[in-house]
Symmetry: C2
Subunit: 205 residues, 2 copies
DNA sequence: ACAGAAAGTGAACTGGGGCTCACCTTGCAA
DNA sequence: TTGCAAGGTGAGCCCCAGTTCACTTTCTGT
């Protein structure tokens, strides 16, 4: 006879509040914020943080996972629209801008994207984590590959960009401490660069 | 009677070696390296580091200053060539690529460039330092303004970019842990984006 | 209402990094 | 050769951040 012990209400409340606060602080200040700061902001003792998340890395991972899921959803949706005939270039541009804007708001995700250096499908926190098959992130990765390939076939994105390049370039867009309008200009510049052919002088298929 | 005390030979040797090692380590790993690490690598005790540089920030500043001087020189030279009739767009592109490549090799300089956020002429270390009038950095800043303006007049660079935008965008080019060839592609993308017109017609994200 | 398990608490431990300083070593001028 | 100030040394102090755990409080099934 298996007892499914119900979660105590205060525990659930704290778990939620901690995640909420962590998302806010880590998103705004990056993974550098101290556990003490998060605990204080959540009106909770550090020990409670550790009851819910065994380590700081785990907490950051939980926070990132949330953002990643949202991006994954948007990515899959965009790719699906392309599959139904939407122009790949436009969908790609819209999605890339969305991702870049998210990076601007979510420093931890940006750090993760930047640290993936490239060459491994996404990363949660630090370069040592491998994705489980069938995770939302993995599906998003596949969707991004498809979307990028479609846009490239269509000629609206440079052919020599890999998905990893894409992530790295978007993560590179300066965003912290920059007014929204300026940041959008930066995004525009980078997207324009990805669109342009590989250079007038000696290019040509 | 003023005694101009000669510097002791061992002191001079150590001073040079410390700067050499600091340039290497701070350049490769960023300003995060510990003083202990630098001291060890230089074959010297921490105290000696502090004899020559009162604080870690001062050491980092010294290291950055060196790179900055070189970039300043290149900038002034490029602007001078434009003054003598060289095409501004080409000179600008060459210089920007040089700067971006330097950022790739010199993380501390990149950090500084990124942290200038914008809106203040250059920064040595941290956003709180104001440039002395007539420093090489200040002259370089003026040279960059001229060069950028010339390129924009010529139509080879988007008109809505400020010098600060330029620095920020170049600093954003992903470079750490990336093979040279890939890094050059990133630079190419960003430069292309700066070149392209702001897409006055429709389209664009 | 109550027991006891789950959850919460926060002082204290750990480790790392910047920096100091009381005490040696050494280059070099006399 | 020698005196001594400039220079070098490194153990140790301080502070900060992650983590632990013995103890207290709170929730909930009975």
């Amino acid at each position: 006879m298996v007892h499914v012990v119900k979660v105590r209400s205060d525990a659930a409340r704290n778990r939620a509040r901690i995640l909420e606060v962590a998302r806010d602080l880590i998103g705004r200040e990056g993974s550098g914020v101290s556990m003490d700061a998060i605990a204080a902001e959540a009106g909770v003792a550090v020990g409670t943080l550790y009851r819910h998340h065994p380590t700081k890395a785990a907490l950051v991972e939980a926070v990132i996972g949330h953002s990643l899921d949202q991006l994954a959803e948007a990515t899959v949706a965009a790719t699906a629209r392309v599959g139904q005939g939407a122009p790949a270039g436009e969908e790609a541009a819209r999605l890339f801008a969305l991702v870049a804007r998210r990076y601007a708001v979510d420093r931890a995700v940006k750090e993760a994207a930047a640290s993936m250096g490239a060459y491994s499908p996404v990363t949660a926190y630090g370069p040592d984590i491998v994705l489980p098959a069938d995770s939302p992130e993995l599906r998003a990765w596949e969707a991004i590959q498809d979307l990028l390939a479609a846009a490239q076939r269509e000629g609206s994105v440079r052919a020599d960009l890999t998905p990893a390049d894409l992530m790295a370039l978007l993560a590179g867009v300066p965003a912290s401490g920059v007014p929204d309008r300026v940041r959008d200009r930066y995004i525009d510049v980078v997207l324009a660069g990805m669109r342009a052919p590989a250079d007038p002088p000696d290019a040509g298929p």
